[in-house]
């Protein structure tokens, strides 16, 4: 059920995306009729590998263009915007955390955060330092990603995702490359920092332990290809 006076940071309707397979057959990957996410909500999507979760997140982030349907982020219709505007909206309103961190290898931790800022609201060195401090990397700001452990690298990615104070954070299997201790820590950190920054969190994973930390877990396969108009996710 939709709680009153809560703004939707993400609204999706009739979203469809298909790809051509190597043997020239069209394969439907995403077919979501209705989905939304309210501000400050933390939702985990469960789904098997290859079920289309990453494509779903890429469609939300505007990295992929849907075949049809509507995606609105922070009140702006992402899918209707021209590409440069989509890029801008992605930079300012969305933070993206990847399974493989996707840090820029030639940039220090601080620079990785700064480069994220540079496409959004502008570079703020002090804020970037504070963010790295918050994720426990006070003494590693000038280290390059290759000089960090995998857990530390994901912390940099978390700081970078929050650098522009996004309304929505997308996390794609963020613990997939971490051992269980690191996974727990990083996941807790993602949730805490999202809460502190007032960002909604949409996490996709097939890791039971990760999913177990969420109060609200939805099955991606249930609402993907779901033709009904009922919202698949109903927030508390």
């Amino acid at each position: 059920m939709l709680a009153p006076n809560k703004m939707r940071v993400l609204e999706i309707s009739n979203l469809q995306k298909s790809f051509l397979t190597p043997d020239r057959k069209r394969h439907d990957v995403v077919n979501v009729s209705d989905f939304f996410l309210e501000e400050h909500a933390h939702v985990a999507l469960r789904g098997e590998s290859g079920s289309g979760k990453t494509t779903f997140l890429n469609l939300i982030a505007g990295i992929l263009k849907p075949d049809s349907g509507r995606v609105a982020v922070a009140g702006r219709e992402m899918s209707a915007l021209p590409e440069p505007e989509r890029d801008r909206l992605r930079a300012t309103a969305i933070g993206y955390i990847f399974q493989t961190f996707n840090l820029l290898q030639g940039y220090t931790c601080l620079e990785n955060v700064l480069v994220g800022m540079s496409f959004g609201h502008g570079v703020d060195r002090e804020k970037a330092r504070r963010l790295l401090d918050r994720v426990g990397l006070r003494d590693h700001q000038n280290h390059y990603p290759r000089q960090l452990s995998t857990g530390q690298q994901q912390r940099v990615a978390v700081a970078r995702a929050l650098a522009n104070q996004p309304k929505l954070v997308l996390a794609d299997e963020p613990t997939g490359n971490l051992d269980s201790a690191n996974a727990r820590e990083v996941l807790a950190l993602i949730r805490e920092t999202c809460r502190e920054n007032g960002a909604a969190l949409l996490l996709v994973s097939h890791d039971r332990e990760a999913l177990g930390q969420f109060e609200q877990i939805e099955d991606f396969q249930k609402f993907n290809n779901n033709a009904s108009n009922d919202p698949v996710v109903d927030h508390l």
Binding site: T55, D87, T100, N102, Q105, G106, G116, F119, N177
Partner: protein, 403 residues
């Protein structure tokens, strides 16, 4: 700001290939500018260099040979002319100054040229400038066995006032052909940056009557350097007609600048070949930028995808590649100027030693503007292919975990 930061980081990340390609641009730019500058400067120096004389009268020969021999002290002498021929041209009312010269001996490879004191006291190699010995030196006494040494010869052979030299017969140095006479050096000329710097000057009679020379030709001279009276271009034409068309014994080489220009006309093909080689090197160098960036595109794709995921526009990644190529070229051209200076200094040193003419490595040429601009522009163009590849990078595909 972000764009330049991305470029800077990329250049640093690919530092080795950046330096390598910048080096090839430097070599190409340095070579292109040097070829151009040497051609321009040598053309200007050789066609503008006449030692202050308008014409040369000598034995029947090609005008170019006569000028190269009498003015530049290169080439073999085409033969002699008799003393009365000198007296005749000297008496011509259109001639302001006629200086006879005789040659045929050397000192350790540097020519001994016999002349009169008029060469030092009346002839001006440039307006208001005469060949003058450094104090406390003086010009030779025409009746004595004395010599005045050009500045380059003095520098190369370590000669100074008070030294005594033994001339050698012929224009090529041969230790076994030493003359018995000795000459006392009484002065070293101030540098003139003309061929006079690489000559040892002795009295005309001294060279004519050197032991071993043909006594029959003792009064002959090798050539007469002529200064026409002001505004006597018509006289120059008349004399040219008189000696070259109506007579067949002597050659009147006039005007000197035009004759030298003919030399450059004859070797223009060589200039063009050098130029073509320089252009090809430039093309290969800019091609190396293309190859270097293009080859690194596979490793760059992920970075480009990350930047795009963070919000970078397609045009930002496109521009970053173009500007990166241009920056490598700009960096190369900075080093290119160092190459240019080194090449020009080496060439100038050789040209000065061989001809006495000085090329200025620091002189400005238009090529110094358009070669860098051209190479930077060409490099930016060569960046288009990898830039298009960057522009088309599939973000989602390249963000996927690498298995």
């Amino acid at each position: 700001m972000t764009l330049w930061w991305i470029i800077y980081k990329s250049l640093r990340q690919h530092a080795f290939s950046t330096l390598l390609t910048a080096f090839s641009i430097a070599l190409a730019g340095g070579l292109l500018m040097s070829v151009w500058a040497v051609r321009e400067q040598s053309h200007a120096a050789f066609t503008g260099m006449s030692g202050g004389f308008d014409a040369v009268l000598g034995a029947r020969s090609a005008k170019l040979q006569l000028v190269l021999n009498a003015i530049f002290h290169l080439e073999e002498s085409p033969g002699n002319l008799a003393w009365p021929d000198y007296l005749e041209i000297q008496a011509n009312p259109n001639v302001a100054l006629a200086v006879p010269i005789a040659m045929g001996d050397n000192y350790r490879g540097y020519r001994l040229v016999g002349t009169t004191t008029n060469f030092f006291t009346k002839a001006e190699y440039a307006p208001g400038k005469r060949c003058t010995p450094r104090a406390p030196g003086r010009i030779f006494d025409p009746a004595a066995r004395e010599a005045v040494v050009g500045s380059l010869v003095a520098q190369k052979l370590g000669l100074k006032r008070g030294d005594v030299i033994h001339p050698f017969h012929g224009l090529q140095f041969d230790e076994e052909k030493e003359h018995s006479e000795t000459y006392l050096i009484v002065g070293v000329l101030e540098p003139t940056n003309t061929p006079a710097d690489r000559v040892i000057w002795i009295p005309l009679e001294g060279l004519q009557k050197m032991s071993g020379h043909d006594p029959q030709a003792a009064s002959d001279v090798s050539a007469v350097l002529i200064q026409l009276k002001a505004g006597s271009a018509v006289a120059g034409q008349r004399l040219s007609l008189f000696y070259n068309k109506e007579g067949n014994r002597l050659t009147f080489a006039w005007p000197i600048g035009q004759i030298m220009a003919q030399l450059f006309g004859k070797i223009a093909w060589f200039d063009r070949v050098l130029e073509l080689v320089a252009y090809l090197v430039a093309l290969v160098a800019t091609g190396s930028i293309l190859a270097s960036i293009y080859n690194s595109m596979n490793e760059r794709r992920r970075e480009i995808a990350i930047l795009r995921a963070l919000g970078a526009h397609r045009r930002t990644v496109f521009s970053s590649i173009i500007l990166e190529a241009a920056t490598i070229a700009a960096l190369g051209m900075v080093i290119g100027f160092a190459f240019y200076s080194a090449i020009m200094t080496a060439v100038a040193s050789v040209v000065r030693a061989q001809t006495g003419i000085v090329l200025d490595p620091l002189a400005f040429h238009a090529i110094m503007i358009w070669a860098p601009l051209g190479l930077i522009g060409l490099s930016a163009l060569s960046g288009i292919v990898p830039a298009v590849k960057a522009y088309r990078t599939d973000v989602a595909e390249n963000l996927a975990p690498i298995s």
